[in-house]
Structures are given as C-alpha cells and as structure tokens.
Symmetry: C2
Subunit: 471 residues, 2 copies
C-alpha cells in the first residue's frame, strides 16, 4: 500500500463549527423562544434542506443570486433553502388539506451564497413563525406580541418593536405626488432614515450627496416641493400608538386608500393593548419599509436598544401572495423571522448569556485506576439522582491535571476519592468555583490540597445531598 | 407583464416534510436521549452541512458513492455530510487544543445519495455520541450504559444491546486457519448469522445456496473442516457475560492475540456491572461484525425485541484511526450513532409515542368578532399562567366549525364565551376529549351544545385554575 496524502482539516470558506460553549448557549436561546412561541400555539414543521430550484427562486433578483444551487448526480438542478418562507409556501400549496390557520414554527439552518466576511456566514440558523390562512390583523398583532414575549423571556429589558404598514407607504407616494417609476427609489432612500437622518434624506431625494468616505451617492432628482411632504411624513411623532395614528390620519386626510392602512394600524394597536404589549415596547414607526416587493400590509421589526449595531434581530410582516407562485389562489400569511446567530451574538454582548463549555455538573476524578468500578458506582449514583456527571476518562493520572481539566471545562463540582476515602467510606467534594487550580508547584499533594478552599470530606451516604446543595 | 408559469409544489425525490405531529413526537424522543446523554457529561457540537469533498470521502467505496457531492458556484468540489463522524474527525484534527477527552454529541441531518424507496430517505436525522481521546474500555462501557439508559428513558422495556470486539473476530481467522484473502468474505457471511442461521452460514461458507426467492448465492468455497471451528464459535453461549467470556477463553486457548480481545470484553463487562447495566439488557454476542474496515476494538448495537424488523436502531464501536486521514497521529475514539427517524418509527409501532398535532392546550374560540379584545385578554391570561393557548384566528364564524378545528388539531380544552358569558362575567370551558364533535346537523346551537358532555360554565376568575385542573 502506498502512503495516502493527508487531508488538510479545514472548513469551507464562509462556514464555521459551533463549539460546545456556543451550542449550549444557543440552545438555551432557542428553547426560550420555542417555549414562548408554543404558548401561542405555534407548531413545529421541518422541511428538507434541498428543494427543487424552482421552489427557491423567484423572491427577487438579489435573493436569487444568493441561492446555493447545483446539479446533483442525476443532473437535476437543486438548491439549499435560502430561507424558511419558500419551503413554507411549497408546503401550504402542496398539502391543501392542512387545517387553517396553520401556525407553524421552523428552526432550521439556511444557506446563502454570500461573500464571506467577518460575522457573515454562508450557513446560519433561522427561527420563523408564520400564521397562514388568517387575514385578520389579530394574527399580525399576535406575532408582535409573541416577539415581545420572547425578548422579555430572554431577559432583555430594553428592546423596541416598531411596526408600520406598506399601505401607508403607498399612500405617501400619492400624497407627495411621486411619479410611479420613482416609487422604489424613494422607498429605498426612506429606508435609510435611521442611518442618514432628515438632512441626508433631503439630499438623496434631490441632488444626491457625498458620504463620509467621500463616495458620491446619486440623488433621485425630486423637486424640493415633493420632498417637503415626505419630510412631514418622516417627522410624524412616534412613541404613542394613538398619537401616531392621529397624526397620520390628519396628514393623509383625503389621500385615497389611507383609511385602509390606518385602519389596520388601529386594529393592531387595539390588539396589542388587549395582549398587554406596552407602547414603549411596540410602537408605530411609519418610516420602516422592509422587503419592498414582498410585504403587502403590516411590517414589523425588533431591535435591542443597547445593541443597536446588530440591526434588526427579528423582523417580518404580512405577505398575502405567499402561495401564488404555486397555485392560483391568495392565501393570507403573516410571520416573523429571527436570525438566531445574530440574536445570540447580541445577547453575548449584553452579557445575558452565561457561557459554559460543559453540560456536566460534577466531574468524578480517578485517583486509583485499579478501582475504576468504585468510581463508576459513584458516577452512577449521581446520575441516578439526576446530577449530570462526567467520570474522568482521560489519560492524565495526577489529580492536579484532572482538576485543571474540570476547571477548564467549567464543571462546578468535583468528587475526589482515594484509598483513604474508600476505606473510611467517605468522599471529598470540591466546589471548583471557590478554588484556584494553580497551586505552588513544589508543594506535595496534601499541602496543595489543604491550601485550596471549597473542599470537604464527607461520608459517602451524604454525597448526593451535599452535592445537590452546592448546585 | 406576462403571466408567470406556476411552479409545481413538490418535494425532490427521496425527501420528505416532517409535519407537526411527527415533529412534536420526534422532538420528545430527541429530548429524552439528549437529557440522558447529558447526564453522562456529553456536550453539543455542530458542524456545517457542507464540507470539502476530501473531508467526506475515504470511509469506504460503498460510502463514497453515496456522498451528495457537487461543484459550487466557485467550481469548488463540496459535499453534504454523509455522517457525523467524518466532521468530528475534522474537528478533532483541526482544533488540537480541544481538551481531551472530548465527549461530544451532535444531532444533525445527514444526506445520502441513496436510491429512494419506502422508508429510505436521502436526508435523515442522526444523533451521535463519541468520546475522543480515551483509550479506556470504560469509555466504551459508558457509551453502552448511556444507550441503555436512553432506551429505558424512552419507556422501552424490551431491548437488547449486544457487544463484541473486532479483535475476537480476527482471532477466529487464525483459529479456523482461513486464508487472509478470504477474511472479508467470511466476515460478511458471519454478519448474516441472525438472518440465515447456522445452516445458511455453512452453505454460504462452502458451496453457496439458493435463497427463498430462488436466487443463487455463491459460496466462499471453504473446506468443511474450516467451517467446523467457525460453527463452534457461532454456537458459543450468549446471555451471561461471564459465561460467554469463559466459553470463548476456552475455545481460543492458545490462539495468538486472543487474550487482548477477551481482556477488553472482561473489562467492559465489569464496568457494565458497576454502571448497573444488567446482563439481559447488554450481553456479549461474538457474531456481530459491524463496519468491517472501520472499527478497531469493541463494537455494539441495540435493537428492540418487539420491533426487530427495524434492525439495529443504535450502533457503534471503537475506531482508533479517527483522525489519521488528517494528521499523522492516533487518537482513540469510541461512540454510537442513533438513526432518529428509524427509532421514532419503531417507537410509533410500539405505541410508545403519543401523536398529537398541536402544541396548544387550549383553543379560545371566537363567537363575537366585535369583541376580539375580550378574547385576546382571555388568551393572554391563560398564557401568563403558562398554559399554551391558541386564539382562533381562522375565517370560520360558527362555533361548531371552530370546535371541529380544535378537535382536529387535538387541542384538549376549548374556551367559549359569547355576550351572555361576558355579561355574567363567566366563560364556558369544554374538555374536548369528552365530546363528540358531530352533533345532529339540524339541532340549533343551544340544543347541540347541551347534548355535548365535558362542558361547564364557570365564573371568569376561576378560568385558569379550572383549566389547569383539566390538563
């Protein structure tokens, strides 16, 4: 046999491994959200990672370019799902017998053929909820309430959910008398309001501007008198739901179609009131646009006031054209998506997630290999009591190295037993959080152990209760 | 704009959707296993779905053919993971600083370019545990104990885990004096012992046989005197761990290398004793081969005695060559894999999994759309009490249709309130499990309701406690 060439152990560009500490933290986040969403009666669905390419394409030119697509071994064009909405649409179109409303959640990775960069990955976890088959604004309000509850359940105090309605933005076009062909351009500028402010908006809507890096941003070319109504619109008060509704009602008095959008805002506001979502958590911000070609009514997005740099960490809206690519029918739908990895990164920054790299609560160290059955009995006893217990299986024979391993893994308690303990029917338990692993290198074992804190020797029969008291 | 052609809503061949009832059930199974494995201190890891093709190939010709592989948009050869072991090997080789032992679990889909068929899918969920960096038989015993605990925790009474050691099979070759070039062929025949019995083994090892469907199965061509020692080996007693060990020790007396394999069996047996895994649950069966090129020591597999047709639902072993494709180093590893979908199907057959298609415990029906805020307040109150509550958001206005929806979704309790109830500050609660949805079609609502059972009208303040008592 010839020697085989070694394979370089590396990831594909744009991909990453989630090591235990991240996985344990992310799992907690997902669980909290899942439990919150289930309180609202959402049910889980899972669709395959691979779909026919036609199922995935068609939600916009930009998106289509990012679909991970290829020919499989049968020369069939297939793709990895780009989001969880296209598969949902396929499911709803395919299983016509599904009871409606169909309120589903899906927690799955999605793939995008994006340019990899710092914090930009080609695979990431999405957590979506959608209510399919309900035209009612109550469904939209419920999504907002569920988002709000989820953020609260994650321990976030300072967050904001802003919502608006695409129908209101459409009214603005009539109100400001914008030529139809400029609509999308104007929306794209308005969408930047947060970042560039009213001054920037005015420049970009007219003659353009030069940004901080010196780049010239071309203007839309509107006359100044058309910008004035837009500025009025952007300056409408936020903060009080009824206040914003009153203001936009006045501003858009007589604008055709305004009643419908404003009526929907009113209905959602009333529902949020009944559902107990306060105004400072969910308010109307008429400047948000979100997914210009996609949404047909309410839109909403959440962000963390103390981690604004992460942008919107949840977002969604109503898209009543959900299944129209598949069947000649309108089925109303509304829902929100969470970028779990981004949310998790924000929670880490806010120190709302404790990072531990171990699931075990106890490490049983092994001082005398000949008595491995004794150590296994200890481990078994702890596990039977529901205590997550790792028996040290490594190759280190010394106690110090084993305790270093325990410390490094973040396991809070260790159990130590040697021939003395076994003879006396005792064990030593050690609260690792109270100890310094680095002892004087020259000290012998006894001295070194004595110098540590958080350690006591107890009768074996008390082991479980003493450890439970520590945890 | 021209009308777009509709896309046929369908899955790729070999793929499937997991609808809520399956997802809810499967999630429960996964959670039980996860909690059991965490009791042993295993920690979660996640690797990307896509890997460099070289990372995935090389675990055997058969397997290589089944890797879902393609060129991505950059013309790079990539593949979807075929199992969770190759990515683990890459991780261990890539992050040399990982503390050892590294005891990880991973719950992820894998993809195989297999011929689709009934019950054979191209995407399925695997749940693996592996202990990397421990050469000790204690690690193997722990995997067996964790498998056993997991099956017990799933409510399975009758299961068997059989284990053996590849080193023993290697001794058989010396013992029976089989020419080296026939080794693999002989192992493949022995692996069929369960299905074809001693008679079938004898025929296949010698002149071949004709199976039930009339197909000719060629024989290995051994002389009958070489088959006799193999038959002796296959007839060794099972059932008692010490009994089997004694018998094989006698049979293989003087066979070079036998001590090592038998010593490992002894050590695992002693550990299982200490870990409290009884002999009827985990016994030695020297006839199991499993992954001929792959495993280097202990092998083990679990099956359900009342669902034998599902084959082995968990299996694994020790493979000390884990990282050798990546780095010139031997890192010992042992671990087991569960085919979650197959296990779930078996549990369904054994009726150990209750199938519900809803997460909600209560459906709040809506009789008077004008009072939607009242219904939302009811829903909110229930959710605040931790009761998973769906507010009916569908388009059906009639109570009967809404209750039918409730019944179809398997939601156990419904809340009904109309103007009478609101005025009297009451609600009606209904135990759906006690009611027949199909009432006499001609009866009016009052009659129809009165004819049902499991329904009572209570004061609103008692709603939460009364419903909690029902759940």
């Amino acid at each position: 046999m010839t020697e085989k060439k070694l394979v370089e152990p590396e990831l594909l560009k744009g991909f990453r491994d989630l090591m235990p500490a991240q996985m344990i933290g992310r799992r907690k986040v997902v669980e909290v959200i899942r439990q919150t969403y289930e309180l609202y009666g959402f049910v889980p669905l899972e669709t395959p990672a691979l779909e026919k390419i036609e199922t995935l394409l068609g939600s916009g030119e930009e998106a289509d370019k990012l679909v991970f697509q290829f020919s499989d071994q049968d020369e069939q064009r297939v793709g990895l799902r780009y989001d969880l909405t296209a598969p949902l649409a396929r499911v709803v179109a395919q299983y016509r017998e599904l009871p409606k409303p169909f309120k589903r959640y899906q927690i799955s990775p999605v793939w995008r053929y994006d340019k990899p960069g710092p914090g930009r990955f080609r695979e990431f976890l999405q957590f979506d909820i959608d209510t399919v088959g309900s035209p009612s604004m109550e469904a939209d309000a419920e999504i907002i309430a569920a988002m709000s509850d989820a953020l609260m359940a994650l321990g976030i105090q300072r967050y904001g959910i802003r919502f608006s309605n695409r129908k209101i933005l459409n009214c603005l076009i009539a109100f400001a008398d914008i030529p139809a062909e400029l609509t999308l351009k104007v929306f794209r500028v308005i969408d930047k309001f947060d970042r560039i402010g009213i001054e920037g908006i005015r420049e970009e809507l007219t003659k353009g501007r030069v940004d901080v890096s010196g780049d010239k941003i071309p203007g839309v070319g509107l006359a100044l008198e058309k910008v004035t109504p837009i500025e009025k619109f952007l300056s409408l008060p936020k903060g009080s739901r009824t206040g914003t509704i009153e203001a936009v009602t006045q501003l858009f008095a007589g604008v055709p179609g305004a009643d419908e959008g404003i009526g929907e805002l009113k209905k959602i506001s009333a529902c949020l009131e009944a559902l107990g979502v306060p105004e400072e958590k969910a308010y109307i911000d008429l400047t948000i646009a979100r997914g210009l070609d996609y949404y047909t009514g309410p839109v909403y997005e959440a962000w963390l006031l103390d981690a604004r740099e992460f942008g919107s960490i949840m977002g969604g809206g109503r898209y009543d054209g959900l299944v129209e690519r598949f069947i000649p029918e309108k089925i109303p739908a509304t829902g929100a998506s969470i970028g779990v990895d981004r949310l998790f990164a924000a929670l880490q920054k806010l120190e709302l997630i404790e990072t531990v790299s171990s699931t075990a609560q106890v490490l049983v160290t092994v001082m005398d290999r000949e008595r491995s059955d004794e150590y296994q009995r200890i481990a078994r006893e702890l596990r039977t009591a529901g205590i997550r217990t790792e028996l040290y299986l490594g190759t280190e024979k010394g106690l110090r190295k084993q305790l270093e391993y325990c410390d490094r893994q973040g396991i809070p308690v260790s159990v130590i037993a040697g021939s003395n303990e076994f003879q006396a029917n005792q064990v030593t338990i050690k609260d690792m959080r109270k100890m310094l692993v680095e002892g004087p290198k020259t000290a012998d074992r006894k001295e070194w152990l004595a110098a540590r804190t958080g350690q006591k020797t107890i009768v074996r029969a008390d082991m479980v209760s003493e450890i439970l008291a520590l945890l």
